[in-house]
């Protein structure tokens, strides 16, 4: 296990390096500079600022300097927010993003599993049809549309939840619902299909022949086997939530990194863009690693190490 982890961490660093490299050069290809629309500054002033931030050097030199800094944990200072270090800027903002992302993921997947399992157990009844419709809607409605609908009906009309801003759990409910719809729908669909399959398998027949009750069969045998393939989509779902959060955070004015990302791209805030890209890639790599480890825990046939047959 330790050997496997070491290997995976090495790959994680390698992945981050490639992501940094590609993003850095792509970002430099973007038209304009951080000072493009500053009409009040004279040419010499701009040159001075460029020099101060090292933007006058050739791109490959800037890249090497950035890498050298990043290795030491120095991710530069933001251009737009009065010279705040990127690491400080992001660490103070990652909390809300993580909270909403995790809440959306947990609520979405758990409710999705329950809905999917119910659909499979009541196959070809109105319960099943309802769950299918819910999951199709959940997949096809974009999170930002849902966000606005939730704001209007649950926030404005009914007044149950605050429409926007940040401050306490009650503020997280609407963004969590908006972001959680996709993982809910995807996992409901997945679990339903898989469980219909599992319920017709021989070992379920054997479990019934043992005299287990209907719920006993579902709980002890069907559920675990239906959940294995769900792990496969946890990675893609996490990506979905990360990208979705950029827009949703904006809609709900949540001071998270998603909102930050959009702003920094619009203003060519290079160090912030880089910092955010690294954070997103890192989170994705960790999710994938957790997924692979989970696989081994849930499915004994895919144990990472130990005795193989």
């Amino acid at each position: 296990m330790a050997k496997y982890l070491a290997k995976r961490i090495f790959y994680l660093i390698l992945t981050l390096f490639i992501v940094i490299t590609v993003t850095f050069f792509l970002m430099k290809l973007l038209p304009g500079t951080p000072l493009t629309n500053q009409a009040k500054l004279s040419k010499s002033q701009i040159a001075l600022i460029y020099q101060q931030y090292g933007l006058d050097k050739p791109v490959w030199q800037q890249y090497l300097l950035y890498l050298a800094g990043a290795v030491k944990g120095n991710f530069g200072t933001s251009f737009q927010f009065s010279d705040q270090p990127v690491s400080y800027l992001l660490s103070s903002r990652i909390g809300p993003s993580l909270q909403i992302g995790l809440q959306a993921m947990i609520v979405g997947v758990i409710v999705g599993i329950i809905i999917g399992a119910f659909g499979a157990m009541k196959q070809n009844t109105w319960v099943d049809t309802t769950t299918t419709v819910v999951s199709i809607l959940g997949i096809s409605i974009p999170s930002f549309v849902l966000a606005v609908l939730l704001q209007y009906y649950l926030g404005l009309k009914l007044g149950w939840f605050p429409i926007a801003e940040w401050g306490g759990f009650i503020y997280t409910v609407l963004p969590t619902l908006a972001l959680g719809a996709t993982p809910l729908a995807e996992s409901a669909r997945f679990v339903r299909t898989e469980m219909v399959d599992v319920l017709s398998s021989d070992y379920i027949e054997l479990a019934k022949a043992k005299g287990l009750s209907r719920m006993g069969v579902i709980y002890h045998h069907a559920l675990r086997n239906s959940l294995i393939p769900l792990i496969t989509i946890v990675g893609p779902l996490a990506v979905n939530i990360m990208t979705g959060s950029m827009v949703v955070e904006n809609i709900f004015s949540i001071p998270g990194i998603g909102e930050q990302f959009v702003k920094s791209v619009l203003t060519n805030d290079y160090p912030t863009i880089m910092g955010l890209t690294i954070i997103y890639s890192f989170m994705l790599c960790v999710v994938l690693l957790i997924t692979d480890i989970l696989y081994g825990i849930v499915d004994p046939r895919i144990r990472l190490t130990g005795k193989a047959n």
């Binding site: 021989d202 027949e205 054997l206 479990a207 043992k210 005299g211 287990l212 002890h220």
Partner: protein, 366 residues
């Protein structure tokens, strides 16, 4: 034939399956008894209703199954009148089942010790540790080597034969009164087959259970069963002791089954087979369902269903050929040979009536 020795009595069972095309009459008036401690083999080709019969006994039919008539009496109680909850208490406790394919009938994500222990925990309310200890004993009994170390292994770590032993252990852990074995060796290699059959025979003596042995393979039946029922198109067409069915068969379908089974002394280069296919049970033919494939069919076979004719106290066959007015026909050469063998066997047996062993020995020679 209501008998105190009977542990299970199936009477006039009829099961239909509702499909979009109409009702499939899978079981058409089937009756049989299972005596205490015996092995009853139900033989027939695919689709003859063998598995539906056992599913009906277990109460595990698909939701579109419709039991239109009949009774299944176990210990004086009709299983067909029981609720799902009551059946749950019987399944795995009084009546257990061994399934056909050991590669797919074990839960891939559960340790095998737990899988064997599960019926104990469900029916006896045993704590996990105690149940596992008993599961370990059962693993040893079914011949899993190094059981102590393997109790925490998963199914994929075992071979097919070992997995079938585990399936048998699961079925026997509660010492059931009735064991249904649905083609338990079909998915196994021939060498493993005989091991598993041997094990089942051995355990039957130890646990004193009665077995319903479902198979399409008559070769397996000879060494296993006490009595045989031959099924065709959802009906039992002939039943009797294993000797009677093997050496003195009366129904043309049984003749066909026996002739298409290769024996050591079978000659010629082609293996005989029964021509045609089983009838469509959406709309079963009137009369004898086998008539269309039967070279010995009489005119009455297509008009009226044959009743059971008595051959001996234990041997009955549903064919018009046994009617006193029926023309005498000569069965296939292979069957005649068998009948002659049976006649000499009986003579030999009559001579040495004092000792009881010869019958079993001659059975082995077959």
């Amino acid at each position: 034939m209501d008998n105190e020795k009977d542990i299970l009595e199936v009477r006039n069972l009829q099961v239909n399956f509702k499909t979009y095309a109409g009702d499939v009459k899978a079981i058409r008036n089937v009756s049989f008894d299972l005596r205490k401690g015996e092995t009853l083999a139900i033989v027939g080709e695919s689709g003859s209703g063998k598995s539906v019969t056992t599913r009906t006994i277990m109460g595990l039919n698909a939701s579109n199954a419709d039991i239109t008539s009949g009774s299944i009496v176990y210990k004086g109680q009709d299983l067909l009148k029981k609720s799902e909850k009551e059946m749950q208490a019987i399944r795995g406790q009084d009546i257990a089942e061994i399934f056909q394919d050991p590669m797919t009938s074990l839960d891939p994500t559960m340790k095998i010790g737990r899988q064997i222990a599960e019926p104990l925990m469900v029916h006896k309310g045993m704590k996990k540790e105690k149940a596992l200890a008993q599961a370990l004993e059962m693993m040893k009994l079914v011949g899993i080597t190094d059981a102590e170390n393997r109790i925490n292994d998963y199914p994929h770590q075992f071979s097919g034969g070992m997995r079938q032993r585990i399936v048998i252990a699961i079925a026997l852990i509660n010492y059931p009164e009735v064991l249904i074995a649905d083609e338990p060796t079909t998915a196994l290699d021939v060498t493993i087959q005989s091991q598993i059959l041997h094990l089942m025979k051995e355990l039957q003596d130890k646990i004193s259970t009665s077995i319903i042995f479902i198979t399409h393979d008559l070769g397996v039946v000879a060494g296993m069963a006490d009595r045989v029922a031959v099924m065709y198109a959802g009906k039992i067409v002939e039943y009797g002791t294993v000797d009677e069915i093997f050496y003195n068969p009366k129904h043309p379908y049984t003749w066909g089954l026996l002739s298409s089974m290769p024996t050591l002394d079978s000659s010629g280069d082609s293996l005989p087979s029964i021509p045609g296919t089983p009838p469509d049970l959406l709309d079963p033919p009137t009369g004898d369902a086998f008539a269309a494939r039967n070279a010995y069919a009489l005119k009455i076979d297509t008009e009226q269903e044959p009743p059971f004719f008595k051959v001996s106290d234990t041997h009955y066959a549903a064919t018009w050929l046994l009617h006193p007015d029926a023309p005498k026909v000569t069965p296939p050469a292979q069957i005649v040979e068998r009948q002659e063998k049976y006649a000499t066997m009986q003579k030999a047996w009559l001579k040495t009536q004092q000792s009881t062993t010869p019958v079993e020995e001659e059975e082995e020679q077959q």
